[in-house]
């Protein structure tokens, strides 16, 4: 199979685009398409100070690499979560980030926050001490990451927070939200989450139109080394099961994931799940951290650290990445 642009041997064939490219043209195409996504959804401009949330995985490191290649002023932040589980997962993840900086961008700026040093407990510990977190730390981890990524970006004066979510991530969330008809989450799901409340920064997903496999191919061809193993806590996670289902359907119908997610975005532009009849949710300011919360008093994140031996999570926990529930 030949590259559509130069007739050299192709190394990537994207069935959903009916597009095969050689290494050089694929490494040009992905940043070009990222730029188109940034512009289409008005994510940010070259004048904005951007913070990329990196984990040591392929998506976030590729997102940082692409933005720097495109010439954006993009610094990065990472959370050291203290996940060990006998394999030193968080330490290994951090090593990949440092290796990326040394190998590609020695002058890049990385802000690191160690959760245990900052709050006294690692993710694993706080999950174990919390009834809701026992055996399923992902809910606790997600809550902490959402809160801390926003806090760090806000406190450091960044206007935009970039995450490495790809199309498979978004399609998986969409699938889960549709199975449960989570209307509020469907209304909010978007490549851009605006900073529409005090204390929030704008969150954007410039890789949201790429298949996960194509981001992995980009990382491989760029020589970006990344943490290969899954988080030990994610085994059996619902998002991974959703991806498995969607990939099974993709096998029979190439392009289905793209049609599902991009079709959803297009339908939203035409009025599906719009906010016309949505009742505005009243939000309060957390007494301790100041971030928006659905109930007066402390937000779920702050309660997490103030009463670690009790179950502080109730059924109000949401998938909305911009709202820290009261719990």
């Amino acid at each position: 199979m030949k590259c559509r642009k130069c007739n050299k041997a192709a190394v990537v064939n994207m069935r959903q685009h009916k597009l095969a490219l050689c290494e050089a043209h694929f490494l040009e195409w992905l940043p070009e398409q990222t730029q188109r996504t940034i512009e289409k959804y008005h994510m940010f401009t070259p004048d904005d100070k951007i913070l990329v949330a990196v984990s040591g995985g392929k998506d976030s490191l590729s997102a940082w690499d692409i933005l720097l290649r495109l010439g954006y002023h993009a610094d990065a932040m990472t959370l050291h979560l203290g996940i060990d589980e006998g394999i030193g997962y968080s330490d290994e993840s951090h090593q990949y980030i440092e290796r990326f900086i040394r190998g590609f961008y020695p002058n890049a700026v990385l802000h690191t926050v160690n959760v245990e040093d900052t709050y006294g407990l690692s993710i694993s510990e706080v999950a174990r001490k919390n009834d809701r977190g026992r055996g399923r730390p992902c809910a606790v981890c997600g809550l902490i990451k959402r809160h801390e990524m926003n806090r760090i970006a806000y406190e450091l004066g960044y206007r935009v927070l970039v995450t490495g979510h790809n199309l498979d991530d978004e399609a998986s969330v969409l699938w889960g939200n549709m199975l449960n008809w989570e209307i509020e989450s469907l209304t909010r799901q978007s490549p851009v989450l605006p900073a529409d409340r005090s204390g929030l920064v704008r969150k954007v997903k410039p890789l949201c139109r790429f298949y996960e496999r194509d981001v992995a191919a980009y990382a491989f061809l760029r020589g970006i080394e990344y943490v290969y193993e899954e988080c030990p806590f994610s085994i059996g996670a619902r998002s991974l099961r959703n991806k498995e289902v969607l990939n099974q359907m993709e096998l029979d119908q190439p392009g289905l994931k793209q049609q599902f997610y991009i079709g959803f975005l297009n339908a939203k532009e035409r009025g599906l799940f719009t906010t016309t009849d949505q009742v505005a949710v009243e939000l309060y300011e957390c007494e301790r951290c100041g971030q928006p919360t659905s109930m007066p008093g402390l937000c779920a994140f702050c309660k997490l650290w103030s009463r670690p031996s009790e179950d502080r999570f109730d059924e109000t926990i949401t998938n909305d990445p911009n709202i820290i529930d009261a719990g």
Partner: protein, 63 residues
Amino acid sequence: MIKVTYRDKHWEVPGHIAVRDLIIKVGLNPATVLAVRKNKLVLDSEVLGEDDEIKLIAVISGG
């Protein structure tokens, strides 16, 4: 025989088979892995020879 590795698993598969069919034959989904030969990506449509060694890289992340 083609030698195939994926994480800590190993298979040997008779040659003259397309990468996509090989991936399905070992029980994986072609949408979830990249195929690498001699540190180069290999297209799903490429037919492999008897002596090829293929490393399959998982692409799924998240949780």
